[in-house]
Symmetry: C2
Subunit: 226 residues, 2 copies
């Protein structure tokens, strides 16, 4: 029997590694990406390239405009802050998007139900991260529990499993795993605030965390070779 | 201090009663409705009329096209079944929309966070209902628990409360409560399969449950006086 999985794919380093890990585990992949009004919409193009390169059965891009809700530097007209001295500013930064992973996982859950799929992969990480609450293990577990009460399929005895294989890994370890799996990180995108050509700013939280990861892994980031 | 609440408002009998109950409890209301590709889109117009009549601080209509996901007679080209002899067919009917309440509550949660609101009202009911899993108390409790781990505001010590005041009420009791609160049910809409003018079919699950409720309450449904 074919094992199937939904994989949330943003086009970033973490979700790409998660996709490759799910693929390695012999899952047939149904990738889902979100065109949610993010300023770094460029990542969707990257997600399409990645899905094609790694190989997925289907790639769905869901259009949901989170600018209708607002409240984040990633969707609103608020400046993306620069990360100072490699350290995060106090608290959760303004790039946090209210309930984003809850919304994304809800759509993944709905699609899982339509396709009769019980496995959902998400590349959240709670070590080298921006402090977003919906990237923590405790949140993922609570979502999984809720998902198992939310759907028709679960009333029929099927179990939804939310896989978060990166949750406790350092960024450098994620990169090392991905390189072993043959990922070309040159096709991924991490920057929150790219220019019109898609070039990374090198200053936002996401860029800094990525650079730190490659440095600690002792690997050159192929993104900057192009 | 003004107490504020988000209320999920579909334009139906249950959500309208829930709105009136929240209003009675002196909450300032932020109503949220969803234009999700439902065949009974007519209900959104009704929701606007209801929000205006009962009085809300703001009414947000979120556009999210669940036809991108599919899997339901309410969003796809699948016939809405007629309820036979007042009884539900075996199991959960095809009008079930995969993970709909999970998705709707996720958006409500995001908006709650943006507005710094800790109370969310939803008119789910698990007595005279179609058997949808995401209308059960056990689901609502699990969602609440998850919500309290999902957001920035909850990491700052704030608590999200999901109110489901109708959960254990019979439809007839909901109608009696609503009438006492002065609701004109003539402006609400329940039918899953209305004609182009918005006229109810009288045969779907939702129409039958509504008719049964009014009959048991001994009240004439004003919807049919017009």
């Amino acid at each position: 029997m074919i094992k199937k999985a939904i994989v949330l794919l943003s086009g970033g380093l973490d979700s790409t590694t998660t996709l490759a890990m799910a693929k390695k585990k012999k899952f047939e992949i149904y990738a889902i990406s979100f065109d949610y009004g993010q300023r770094h919409k460029f990542e969707i193009k990257k997600a399409q390239i990645i899905a094609k390169k790694i190989g997925v059965k289907q790639h769905k891009i869901i259009k949901i405009d989170l600018r209708q809700i607002g409240g984040s530097a990633l969707t609103d007209d608020i400046n993306v802050p620069e990360r100072k001295n490699g350290k995060n500013s106090k608290g959760i930064p303004v790039t946090y998007v209210p309930a984003r992973n809850t919304i994304f996982l809800s759509f993944a859950l709905a699609w899982a139900e339509v396709l009769d799929i019980q496995n959902i992969f998400i590349g959240v990480n709670a070590i080298d991260f921006s402090g977003y609450p919906d990237c923590r293990s405790i949140f993922i577990k609570a979502f999984e529990k809720m998902a198992n009460l939310a759907t028709k399929m679960t009333t029929e005895g099927k179990k939804i499993k939310i896989h978060a294989p990166l949750i406790n890994l350092k960024k450098s370890d994620i990169i090392k795993i991905g390189c072993k799996l043959g990922i070309d990180y040159g096709i991924t995108h991490s920057c929150y605030n790219p220019d019109n050509s898609g070039k990374s700013c090198g200053k936002c939280d996401s860029c800094i965390l990525r650079a730190k990861g490659f440095k600690e892994a002792g690997i050159h980031d192929p993104l900057f070779e192009r």
